[in-house]
Amino acid sequence: MRQPPPGRRLLGLAGLALGPVLVLVVFFVVPVVGMLGLGLRPEGRFDIGAVLDVLSRPRTGRVVWFTAWSAAVATTASVVLGLPAAYALSRLDFPGRRLIRALLLVPFVLPTVVVGVAFGELLGESGPLARISGGQGLVGTPVAIIAGLTFFNVAVVIRTVGASWESLDRRTGEAAAALGASPARVFWTVTLPALRPSIVSAASVVFLFCATSFGVVLTLGGVRYSSVETEIYLLTTNLLDLPAAAALSILQLLAVLALLGLAARLRVGAQASPGREVVRPQPISRSDLVPVAATGLLLVLIAAPVGALVAGSLRVADGGWGLANYRGLDEAESGQALLVPVTEALGTSLRTAVDATWMSLLLGGLVAVVVTQRSRGRTEQRVRGVLDGLFMLPLGVSAVTLGFGFLITLDEPPLNLRDSPLLVPIAQALVALPLVVRTLAPVLGSIDDRQRQAAASLGAGPLRVLATVDLPIVWKPFVAAAGFAFAVSLGEFGATSFLARDEHPTLPVVIFALIGRPGAANYGMALAASVVLAATTAAVMLAVERLRVPSVGGF
């Protein structure tokens, strides 16, 4: 067989990439650009002065500063809390290890609104902490926001660092010990340098997630604290100050691009691939006391808000316990302004998530194939690199910008999706896309091309090669990515809050509406609905975790 010329190969690459790129352009680039254009050219011409004006407002400065430092603190907390657990869960052997690993991943996919509600319950005025200390509660303070952000992102650190810790050759440390290095010295001079790429990679992604977090800051930030993301939301919906929103979106986009570039550069060598050797975990020894204790503490910290949420949902009006809040869930119009019962919203959420899942799988699968194929030549490699980065973009672009962009660009010919039931799933699929690609790409990339060549040399045609070499390795990560996308879509709030139609809201939208309304009954229902949503996503994630795909949740 002759090599196709490089030009032909590039053409083939373009053909494969065309579909996903087109989708990305129509449903991501156009809405985001449209949204930015609306802000930047209010009267049909660029008004850079207005942008600079927005950026020089004192409030903008405060918002940017708060976003940066709260994200930095939350990232530090995630790394500090995550590292011992990453060690304990990847290198030590103890009963329940897999279950704990799975449980610690659940917060990552819990709907932001639910986490907001749970922390509100834990840290609020009537929460257990405030009651013990007799204080005012911490809701509306940076502490609550940072706690919420950390709660979400510890899993990313555990996953990413754990995956590389798991395959770290124990003998390198042993060589150092045999040269006279104490355990502490081995950690600082051998283990930590080897883990550095994955730690930095995890930290940069966590910082990204924290800095662009929406639901947590909106529900826990109260009126005083706002991040860039929630500020965009407030400017867009409450103040209708689109130029300011656009200016902030651009600022955010640039910062995110810089961070993504950094993360991609640092990710080299930090990726968990299924082909790597996993070192057998060891029984716990006396020297592991600190990491084991820290992991226990982390479990308590993670369990506390969830426990508070469940307890809150079971409390009824007279101060006793009961299921009254849950009974209210299937009642339509329980005297309040809700258009649909919560159970129906859950149905909508599930249907939407199914659609979003197949869309993001189809798209993410194609992208993963395109970016992991072996490159011949510089140009091809560069093209694949750019594509890889391009499809990571939704990770960092404000979901609010995306959602609002959908509203203003996809509501007129040639593409009018304003009333299409596919609008919400498409937006959610884009949000889930980077996670799908990050789950599939390492697996596809780890298949040695020589395996395919060996199969071909034994007489297997391209389809048979796909069925006998690729499929047996890929099906599990594929199912895992589906579950991951499903869970993410169930909890998606930022874009959905713009796009869901009032008569067909998703569950997170309903929960947010419920906590915004006065009355204990509404709040109780919000808690109960949060528990239902959390239980659903947790069940999906626990099922995914049973597939034991190392790249899930890692970056």
Binding site: R171, E174, A175, A177, A178, L179, S182, R185, T189, P193
Partner: protein
């Protein structure tokens, strides 16, 4: 002096080392030789303090080592693949143990060690840019920099290709000698063991089956399996053993009669089992044995022949390069006692 007494190490609940006992006097090099999976690496790791013993004792100069962590034993361990720290340059890898010990003038010591292993000018290279042989040399230099009481080497050469392995084995001996270090070294390759060690311990299925000076072990392997592992090509028993041994005796006397050591030269004692090297039988017009050539192949040093001898069966032999017997030809063969060994276990008491 390293003393290992009745050491048992469990790996994954299964015994990997069973009641092993060893002595290694200071200044000597001991090779633990055994097939892969025989537990020799586990033994080495136990000595290094990386595997806890299930029972038995390890001591250095009479002092018990149990409870002494790896980094306080002063035994440097060199791995099969070197385990260089990839984020450090060659010089900083070698300086690693020096920095731990806060040694002054470490740069000078690094330069000395680099010269010792023949890698002058490699100081600023990163491990990833080195060849396999260079990495092992750096790993050796790094281990020596720790100035270890005992150097532990885990198959230090087996990751290398054959030619390089041979050269590096010779270098290894010279370097370890020059440093005056006591070394315990594990290998599955008897050539390597002979090239480097003073003493040898043969290990099989977790047990040390034979242990002693290189020469003593080589001359009297404890059983047939050990003999084959030490590089003997075949082990003969019964009538076949007696015939070949007897032929050795007569040929020896006819060639250059050596008085003394009667048990070796007398062909009258029928030994139970005899291990023979490939070169124990050689084609010789006046030899006492007659055989038919099964195959013959020229190698750079000699012609390798397989012959069939009545009462012995198929057996290896060699011929000088100027002879190339044809297949089916009948040839006469002489035997050489110095290239045979009577298996110790097969001998009755007092027969040696």
């Amino acid at each position: 002096m390293l003393e290992v007494r009745d050491l048992t190490v469990l790996y994954d609940q299964a015994p990997a080392v069973v009641q092993a006992s060893l002595n290694l006097p200071t200044g000597q090099v001991l090779a633990v030789l055994g097939p892969s999976g025989c537990g020799k690496s586990t033994l080495l790791r136990a000595v290094a303090g990386l595997e806890p013993p299930a029972s038995g004792t390890l001591s250095w100069d009479g002092r018990d080592l149990s409870g002494v962590p790896t980094h306080k034993r002063g035994f440097a361990l060199m791995f099969q693949d070197g385990q260089l720290f990839n984020h450090l340059t060659v010089a900083r890898n070698i300086a690693y143990p020096l920095r731990i010990r806060r040694r002054p003038r470490s740069a000078q010591r690094v330069a000395e060690l680099l010269a010792l292993v023949g890698l002058d000018g490699f100081a600023d290279r990163l491990p990833a840019t080195l060849s396999g042989g260079e990495r092992q040399r750096v790993a050796l230099a790094r281990s020596l920099a720790a100035d270890p009481r005992l150097l532990l080497l885990d198959e230090p050469l087996s990751a290398l290709d054959a030619g390089l392995r041979e050269r590096l084995a010779a270098d290894l001996r010279v370097i370890v000698r020059a440093a005056g270090t006591t070394a315990l070294f594990v290998t599955h390759d008897h050539e390597e063991a002979f090239a480097v060690a003073d003493r040898i311990a043969v290990m099989r299925a977790g047990r040390i089956v034979q242990h002693g000076d290189l020469d003593a072990v080589w001359r009297a392997p404890v059983d047939a399996e050990t003999a084959l592992f030490l590089g003997y090509s075949r082990v003969l028993e019964g009538q076949a053993a007696a015939r070949v041994w007897a032929a050795g005796g007569s040929s020896r006397r006819s060639a250059h009669d050596t008085p003394g050591s009667p048990s070796r030269t007398s062909g009258t004692i029928p030994p139970g089992e005899v291990a023979v090297r490939r070169s124990a039988l050689r084609l010789e017009p006046t030899g006492p044995l007659t055989g038919r050539v099964i195959s013959a192949r020229v190698t750079p040093l000699q012609v390798r022949v397989v012959v069939s001898i009545d009462g012995v069966g198929e057996i290896d032999a060699v011929a000088p390069l100027d002879q190339h017997p044809g297949v089916g030809e009948t040839v006469r063969l002489a035997a050489d006692h110095t290239r045979m060994a009577v298996i110790a276990a097969a001998l009755g008491p007092g027969s040696l």
